[in-house]
């Protein structure tokens, strides 16, 4: 397989992986066996897959409340993720964390935590230590548009730029913070990417639903970081299809319109790239179907694993209070 093709397959596979898992969670959530909040990222797969695909296995990712896509794109263990969401002993955090606290250190997924903005400086700190230890690894920090209102965002950008750290800030601007549109939160006289640029940082804005654009930009950013040329900020425009938290569609509750949703729905990052594979890159559809099919099986296995795994003993709650 040519390098180009390899990348193409990888990008599609990751997007497909995220989509499949998230759809499965949405399907099963009403059974009330996943007893924790879930923030699905369906619609945002390109930004997540494309950027993580630019990283090496031993590079780092850190995320917030909407982290499934980042975890999966970085190669996080699927069984451990589902088991965690199901609250099982085999979960990646032993059931202590749930959907909002995924972790897989084997693939550099440092962790996730749902206090908006709080993992940004932690990611910067990892990058600082990594640089000191001369690991030549890159830290990718995922954040949403809401974070651009928070002080910690600016403080962290200031520091990353000042200390010239190997950090890529990936902002997925999906237009909403919970049910709040941009215009009640941020002045329309500027863009988020402008804020980052003002910190003196190399900053970019691009279509986050085009996985190849994402991959290209983040690959350049990775190169820059790897060369010790400091942090990069990238804002990707994208859209979350389902409700902020939970498995449902919610265009009916009034904070956004069905029309707006449909516009973005047509720009389905997974479907768009799939068509491109067939029409432009002349993939055989069966090839794609096979990728999809294999992964569907994996997801079903993982669900089975998660459901069948034992709950942790309640005494596990007292483990790891202090190191």
């Amino acid at each position: 397989m040519s390098h180009k093709k390899e990348v193409t397959v990888k990008l599609y596979s990751i997007m497909n992986r995220i989509r499949t898992v998230e759809e499965k969670i949405a399907e099963l959530y009403p059974e009330q066996e996943m007893r924790c909040p879930v923030h699905l990222c369906i619609g945002q797969e390109a930004a997540e897959a494309g950027s993580c695909a630019a990283l090496n296995d031993d590079d780092y990712v850190i995320s917030g409340h909407r982290s499934h896509g980042h975890y999966l794109a970085k190669g996080g263990d699927l069984k451990a993720m589902l088991a965690e969401i199901y609250g099982k002993e085999t979960g990646c955090a032993g059931g202590k964390g749930g959907s909002m606290h995924l972790i897989d250190l084997n693939v550099g997924f440092i962790g996730a935590a749902p206090i908006v903005g709080s993992t940004i400086p932690i990611g910067v700190g990892v990058a600082f230590a990594s640089k000191l230890k001369k690991e030549n690894r890159v830290m990718m920090i995922f954040l949403g548009d809401g974070v651009a209102e928070a002080g910690v965002f600016h403080e962290s950008l200031n520091l990353a730029q000042l200390w010239n750290l190997p950090v890529i800030f990936v902002c997925e601007n999906n237009l909403y913070s919970v049910y709040s549109p941009m215009h009640v939160r941020q002045p329309d006289t500027r863009r988020i990417v402008d804020l980052a640029a003002a910190h003196g940082m190399d900053s970019h804005y691009a279509d986050g639903n085009d996985v190849e654009v994402v991959y290209q930009l983040t690959s350049d950013a990775v190169k820059k970081c790897r060369n010790g040329q400091g942090p990069v900020f990238i804002e990707f425009s994208t859209y979350r299809w389902r409700e902020h938290c939970g498995p449902n569609f919610d265009n009916d509750i009034g904070y956004r319109t069905e029309d707006e949703y449909q516009v973005w729905r047509k720009r389905d990052p997974v479907a768009l790239f799939r068509s491109k594979l067939i029409n432009d890159y002349k993939f055989d559809e069966s090839e794609i179907v096979k990728i999809e099919h294999d992964f569907k099986d994996q997801v079903n296995d993982a669900v089975k694993f998660a459901k069948e795994s034992p709950f942790p003993d309640s005494s596990n709650a007292e483990l790891h209070i202090y190191a």
Binding site: R35, C36, P37, G87, K88, G91, A93, G95, K96, G97, G98, S99, M100, H101, A113, P114, I115, V116, G117, G146, V147, E149, A150, G151, S177, V178, Y179, S180, V184, R185, Q186, I253, G254, Y255, F311, P312, D313, S314, S315, N316, A317, E318, I321
Partner: protein, 352 residues
């Protein structure tokens, strides 16, 4: 006119009536005007009072607290709402250094009438960062007042008092209380800040409880009654100023004390209650008091890990029975059969 409404409706009504009565009252917070309206407590308010007085805000907890302070010293009466106390930790500097101190340090020249509503306590798998009960952090700070209404009646009456108070008031609302009902008057009324409520009288032991733990304490009282013990249940309602008199009088009568708090034990609210009792009615204490509170580790997410995390009525009753030298039976700790422990008990519905 009194009718049965829920806690969340009582909170909304309090805000609604205060906004009608005083044009300086306004509400802001993340999601305040959104379709969920902070568990329904702010639903419909923006439609009624306009986007000038009922506002969504940027995600900037620290700054928005400062903004509330600045508007308060200009005579406004902000109600700032945080969907979780965990988020409010971002604003501790403004709350502790500024809001709590401007009246004092400017020798009375400024008043800071403001209410900060914060949601505490457990919910569906909220886990370590979304379900804390950090009341003692606020209760420790002079210059703040701290309320924790349990019933819908108190929710309305205390929130009105808080909005009308000329000081910064922290209001802590336990998630599982929003659906509790109570008989609530339609008209405006005040429940005084700083007064505990004796919910049930008793002579054998005093149970002092905060917020949701008051409901568990009422259940514990029933369990105790079945076992021949007559407990007095006091809902603390306000942490600062604390109604030490009601507590002391009760312990003087019963000679025994259990404190049931929604927060952690060490350096928590329960410690202060014990200290106050010790300082004031030492000589009437018949046995050592007990603290029933969260263990000293963070809240895990999986329900399987929470069974022993949140103390229930049985734990309160057991503590009482032990003090009285009575047998503690296993039935006290029986798990409910109709629900998992990560969902509220539908039997706790009120009125109280």
């Amino acid at each position: 006119m009194t009718r049965k409404i829920k806690y969340f409706e009582a909170l909304r009504e309090a805000q609604y009536q205060c906004m009608e009565a005083d044009k300086d009252v306004y509400i802001m917070g993340l999601g305040v005007p959104d379709p969920k309206g902070i568990f329904g407590t702010t639903t419909g308010m923006q439609e009624k009072f306009g986007a000038d007085r009922v506002m969504d805000i940027p995600l900037a907890e620290n700054t928005m607290t400062g903004v509330a302070i600045g508007s308060a010293l200009k005579g406004m009466r902000p109600i700032l709402t945080h969907q979780r106390v965990d988020f409010a930790l971002l604003s501790m500097e403004q709350i502790i250094n500024q809001a709590a101190k401007w009246h004092y340090m400017f020798h009375g020249l400024h008043k800071i009438p403001m209410v900060i509503r914060m949601i505490i306590g457990r919910g569906w798998g909220q886990g370590p960062q979304h379900s804390q009960s950090l009341q003692s952090l606020f209760a420790h700070i002079p210059g703040l007042k701290v309320i924790m209404p349990t019933t819908a009646y108190d929710a309305k009456g205390l929130l009105i008092s808080a909005i009308e108070d000329d000081n910064p008031v922290i209001s802590l609302e336990y998630r599982w209380l929003y659906g509790i009902s109570d008989s609530v008057p339609e008209e405006m009324y005040r429940v005084p800040i700083g007064k505990a409520r004796v919910l049930e009288e008793g002579k054998d032991i005093t149970i002092v409880a905060t917020s949701y733990m008051t409901l568990e304490s009422l259940r514990a009282r029933e369990m105790l009654q079945e076992r021949g013990v007559n407990a007095e249940v006091i809902d603390l309602r306000t942490l600062r100023p604390m109604d030490t008199e009601t507590i002391i009088n009760s312990v003087k009568k019963t000679g025994r004390l259990v404190v049931a708090d929604t927060g952690h034990k060490m350096f928590g609210v329960s410690a202060e209650v014990l200290a106050v009792v010790l300082e004031n009615t030492f000589e009437r204490l018949l046995n050592k008091p007990s603290r029933v509170a969260l263990p000293d580790y963070p809240a895990p997410t999986s329900p399987a890990l929470c069974d022993d995390y949140y103390p229930r009525a049985g734990h309160i009753a057991a503590a009482a029975l032990e003090q009285l030298g009575k047998a503690v039976d296993d039935k006290l700790f029986a798990l409910p059969t109709d629900r998992r422990l990560d969902q509220p008990d539908s039997k706790f519905e009120g009125p109280f």
